[in-house]
Structure formats: structure tokens, C-alpha cells
């Protein structure tokens, strides 16, 4: 699915949070959204997911205005995983993943055999099959994050928007998750903190600063020392690690 933002503005009364963003994500592409805390990554992601109505401009999915679609139509096209979505509820892992089938079901019926197959497959893909019956409260942060991703996969959409999905994961699960995200045929927009990870797994990076899009393109075009100094206020050195992946080294912050 092609996702585009046209002169997108969003904010709360008295404060603009996303300013005049022009962005096109091509079908099947994996785009990494980077930027410091408060740069508007989460807000832009929510706008792209159709969860916020733009103050000005528009978000289009395959040309259609996302705001004009009903919630159910949106959920059939695009899945979204929040940075942290917690609950007091005693839902079990499989039940959370089954939530992803909500838009596929009629109000009148419960999950059917097909829904169960899709859920089982999603659990498998995230290595959660053994935890299927485990209550939410007994899950670690990483297991919760993987459960949410499995739920998003069970939604069977053509686009997937993720807000810092690797946050709570250990290294192995970070790699597996990013492997999965970059390997999926779905269109993916993923907000990330780890610049090297973003560079390694994303087809393209988008750099946000104070709500505005300041650079986009391949990792080597976006992750440059001057840009990182301007946006992140760090002195960075861009190089390669022993495996040939792009690596970012940081000097002590200047006083």
C-alpha cells in the first residue's frame, strides 16, 4: 500500500507538533522514522495510521484520504503497534493476538477456524506458540511487545506501522523482529531510536526535527555528521562495523 502525507500539519491547540510533512512510502518499502525525543515521530506515525485527523493537509492510502475511511476499513488496510500498550485485563497471549481479527469478523459471530489459523501462524512467526495461554500479567516487556506485533500481523493488512517496537526486546529478539519487519512484503513505517539498526534494516530513513521532515533517503544520505549534530546535538562519526554494517559512534557531548 502506498502511504503519502501531503503538507501534513497536526498539533494540539496552541502547539504544532507535526509541521508541513511531505512524505511518500512506496508499496513494500520499509521506512525508518528517526529523530530525537519530542521530534514528532509518534505523532506523525499516528497521523499516517489514520488515528489523528490532520489539522491541515492530508494522509492518503493508495490515493484515498485516510480520514474518509471508516475505522473498520482502516483496520483492514493498516495495522499499528503502539510503543507501550498495557492493560489491567487478564487476556491471554492468543486472545490478544485474536484482537487483530476484530475487523475481519461480523459483530454477530465469534472467531472461526480461519481466524484461529491466522492467529496460530502469527504466534509461530513471533516465537510465541508456547506462550499462547499465558496471561498478559505474566509476560515480560519483550513478550508483550512481540504479542502486539503478532496481533498486528494477524490483522493481515498491507501496511504496518510500528512505534519503537524494539524497545523492550533483548538483542536476539530485536534482530529477529527487525528481520521480520524488513522481510515482510507489507509496507512498513517504523519509528526507531537505534540509528544503526534503522540503517541496517530500513530501505529508507526519514529524519524528523521539531515536527518537520529535515532529511530523507538512504542511510548514508541521512546519517551524516552535520545532520546528526543539528538534529540530535551530538558529535557522531559514521563508519562500518566489523560485519560491514553502518555504525554510528558518538563523542562525549561538548559542554
Amino acid at each position: 500500500m502506498r502511504i503519502s502525507a501531503e503538507h501534513l500539519d497536526w498539533g494540539v491547540p496552541g502547539k504544532a507538533i507535526v509541521r508541513d510533512v511531505e512524505l511518500v512510502v512506496e508499496p513494500g518499502e520499509t521506512v525508518g522514522l528517526i529523530g530525537p525525543n519530542g521530534s514528532g515521530k509518534s505523532s506523525l506515525l499516528r497521523c499516517l495510521a489514520g488515528l489523528r485527523t490532520p489539522v491541515a493537509g492530508a494522509v492518503r492510502w493508495d490515493g484515498a484520504d485516510a480520514a474518509s475511511l471508516g475505522p473498520r476499513d482502516r483496520a483492514l488496510r493498516l495495522a499499528f503497534v503502539e510503543q507501550t500498550a498495557d492493560t489491567d485485563s487478564d487476556l491471554r497471549v492468543a486472545e490478544v493476538v485474536m484482537l487483530g481479527r476484530t475487523a475481519h469478523r461480523s459483530r454477530w459471530r465469534g472467531p472461526d477456524a480461519h481466524d484461529r489459523e491466522v492467529v496460530a501462524a502469527a504466534l509461530d512467526r513471533l516465537d510465541l506458540a508456547d506462550l499462547a495461554d499465558r496471561p498478559w500479567k505474566q509476560l515480560s516487556g519483550g513478550e508483550r511487545q512481540r504479542t502486539h506485533l503478532a496481533r498486528a500481523l494477524a490483522q493481515e493488512t498491507r501496511a504496518l506501522l510500528l512505534d519503537e517496537p524494539t524497545n523492550h526486546l533483548d538483542v536476539r529478539h530485536q534482530l529477529e523482529l527487525m528481520e521480520l519487519v524488513s522481510g515482510t512484503p507489507q509496507t512498513v513505517v517504523v519509528a526507531l531510536h537505534d540509528l544503526a539498526q534503522a540503517a541496517r534494516y530500513c530501505d529508507r530513513l526519514v529524519l524528523l526535527h521539531r515536527g518537520a521532515l529535515v532529511a530523507q533517503g538512504g542511510a548514508t544520505e541521512v546519517l551524516t555528521a552535520p545532520l546528526l549534530r543539528e538534529v540530535f546535538e551530538v558529535d557522531a562519526e559514521i563508519g562500518r562495523d566489523g560485519l560491514g554494517h553502518l555504525a554510528v559512534g558518538y563523542r562525549e557531548p561538548a559542554r
Partner: protein
């Protein structure tokens, strides 16, 4: 019977036999409770019940005296049915509101509906239509709906997010509680105070067929509407954005659920007063049994709520007989230990 029809309202899902069996067992348990509860109380043996009910079903039986017959058919049977309907309504409202507000302490009275009902009842009593009970019931219903309208008016430009709904509801409840106190202080006679006490604790003594009919219709519709929102209620577990991304029309669903639960609560409170605790504990207990998915939670809460109130009311009829103790007193007395037990079993206490 009207009640089983009501509780069987959500169409049974074409799912494994086990689930069908559970449904059948639950309904059997409910019907058994209803039948046993009709027996409990002064002046009714199985023979009398058989003669009263059998006569109406066309069975050739020796009719009872007119008063004994009316004791069973005009008082006891509607009372037991009303207990079941109100118990079911409160439990379902509690379950739904706990999900909508993401607050495990939510109960049907959280949004100030019962405070509005008290105010309405007191206004009617003070203005002097108190002679007929229909007047008080009507006043309570109007008061409850006015309180809810004020709530929705205050929330009209918001996204109905949980915290705001709860806070506004509490504020509206306080407002109407203050109004009730004000009216009582300025008119302050024993009759209006008695009316408020009645609304605060709830009593099934005034159950009649007319209120059973109204509650049955409202509960059937309300339960169906809430049940059809099951998936949305599940989706609310992780908050607004996740719910919306799952395809839930969050705002519309919240409005539908707030309106439905408030109307259900208003009708229940108008019929029997604000019976406490059922709406809070029954959903928690049922979640403990079948988990938090609302497709199962809601119908089972309805059944358990119905059975709980039917039995609690039966207890109130006999424990201090012939004194009439408000059933609300006993729902708390029986409910608190049960609630603590559930919390302990869940390891939360």
C-alpha cells in the same frame, strides 16, 4: 418464561459442544434458582405454587384463595423475575463500564445515574406526587436520565476518554447528591428521607408485573446492544489508539455503550433503587471463571448477576422475616466476602 428468553437473547455462537453445554447448564441453573426462590418466603409451599402457576397454564388444579394466589402470582413471581432482570442488567452494565472506562472499580453508578435517580425520587416526593409509587418510579427514571444528559452535555466536545468520563461522571454524581441533600434539608420530612434511603439501598418489595415487563424489554434490547459491542469492549483493553487501530469506532462505541448502560441502570434503579455491589463484583467474579473476553463475559455476567440477586433477595425475605431489609444491605454483606475471595484467588490481595 420471559426471563429465559431475555437471557438467551444473544444468539449462541456455533462453537464447540463444551460451550453449548455451559450455556445450557447456566440457563438450567438460572431457571432452577428462579423456581426455588419463588418457594422461599412466607405463605408459599410447592402445592400453593403449583396451584397458582398451574392454574394459569391450564392445568386443572384447585384454585387458591384470591389473596394467596395474588401473593404468589402478583407479588412473589414478579419479585423473583425482577430480581433476576435487575441483577443481570447491573452485572452487564458493570462489566461494560469496567472496560469502557478501563477502571476495575467502575460500577453502574459511577456515572452519577443513581444520584440523579435519588434526586428525581426526592423531588417527586417533596412536590407531593409521592402517594403513588408510579410517581416515584417515574421521577427516579427522569432524574437518572437528566443526570446522564448533563454528563453527555459536559462530555460533548471530548473524545470520551476514560479518565474524563469517570471524573465527569463522579462530578455529576456529586452534583445530584448535593441537590438531593439540599432538597431534603429544605423540606426535610420523614417521608422524603425514607424515599432516599430506599433509593440508596434498593428494595425489591415493590416489584410488580408492570416493572418486570418494562425491565425485561429494556434488558433484552440493552443486553443485545452491549453484547454486539463485545469485540470493541475487548479492544478497549489496550487503550484508545490500539482499539481504533483494530477497527473499533471508539467514540461512537463509547457513546452507544454509555447510553445503553445508563438507560439500563436508570430503568433498574427506578424499578428497585440503587442495589449496590452487584455491578462491581459479579463481572470480576465471572472474569475469574471464564476470562475477560466479553462474548462470554457478558452473557455469563448476566446469568450470575441474575442468580446472585435472586438468592440475595430470597435471603432478605427470610432472614429477618417479616421485616423487610433492603436487598442492597445484603448484596454488600454477601458480596464483600465473595469479592475478597476472588481477589485472593487471583493473587491480588
Amino acid at each position: 418464561m420471559a426471563d429465559t428468553a431475555v437471557l438467551a437473547e444473544p444468539p449462541a455462537p456455533p462453537e464447540p459442544v463444551r460451550r453449548t453445554l455451559t450455556t445450557v447448564l447456566c440457563l438450567a441453573f438460572l431457571v432452577l434458582s428462579l423456581v426455588l426462590a419463588v418457594r422461599i418466603g412466607a405463605g408459599t409451599g410447592w402445592a400453593e405454587i403449583g396451584r397458582a402457576v398451574g392454574g394459569r397454564l391450564g392445568v386443572p388444579v384447585v384454585p387458591l384463595s384470591r389473596l394467596q394466589d395474588s401473593l404468589i402470582w402478583d407479588l412473589r413471581v414478579p419479585r423473583v423475575l425482577l430480581a433476576a432482570l435487575v441483577g443481570a442488567a447491573l452485572a452487564v452494565c458493570g462489566a461494560a463500564l469496567q472496560s469502557v472506562t478501563r477502571n476495575s472499580l467502575a460500577d453502574p453508578y459511577l456515572l452519577g445515574v443513581s444520584s440523579g435517580a435519588s434526586t428525581g425520587a426526592v423531588v417527586v416526593v417533596v412536590l407531593g406526587f409521592g402517594g403513588s409509587r408510579l410517581g416515584v418510579t417515574g421521577g427516579a427514571l427522569i432524574g437518572a436520565l437528566v443526570a446522564f444528559s448533563v454528563l453527555m452535555l459536559l462530555l460533548r466536545r471530548t473524545g470520551l476518554d476514560s479518565v474524563r468520563v469517570v471524573l465527569t461522571g463522579v462530578v455529576v454524581g456529586q452534583l445530584f447528591a448535593a441537590l438531593t441533600s439540599l432538597i431534603l434539608l429544605s423540606s426535610g420530612d420523614a417521608d422524603s428521607i425514607r424515599a432516599v434511603t430506599h433509593w440508596l439501598l434498593g428494595s425489591l418489595a415493590s416489584a410488580r408485573w408492570s416493572s418486570v415487563a418494562v425491565c425485561a424489554v429494556v434488558l433484552a434490547l440493552g443486553l443485545l446492544v452491549v453484547w454486539l459491542c463485545s469485540a470493541a469492549l475487548d479492544g478497549f483493553a489496550f487503550g484508545t489508539d490500539t482499539a481504533a487501530s483494530l477497527g473499533v469506532d471508539v467514540r461512537t462505541t463509547r457513546i452507544v455503550l454509555l447510553v445503553t448502560t445508563s438507560v439500563l441502570t436508570a430503568v433498574a434503579v427506578a424499578a428497585v433503587g440503587a442495589v449496590g455491589f452487584v455491578g462491581l463484583i459479579v463481572p470480576h467474579g465471572v472474569r475469574f471463571l471464564v476470562g475477560p473476553l466479553h462474548r462470554r463475559l457478558l452473557p455469563l455476567s448476566a446469568v450470575v448477576g441474575a442468580v446472585f440477586l435472586v438468592w440475595t433477595d430470597a435471603v432478605t425475605r427470610v432472614v429477618f422475616a417479616p421485616l423487610e431489609v433492603p436487598v442492597g444491605v445484603f448484596t454488600a454483606l454477601l458480596g464483600v466476602p465473595l469479592f475478597l475471595l476472588v481477589l485472593r484467588r487471583r493473587g491480588e490481595l
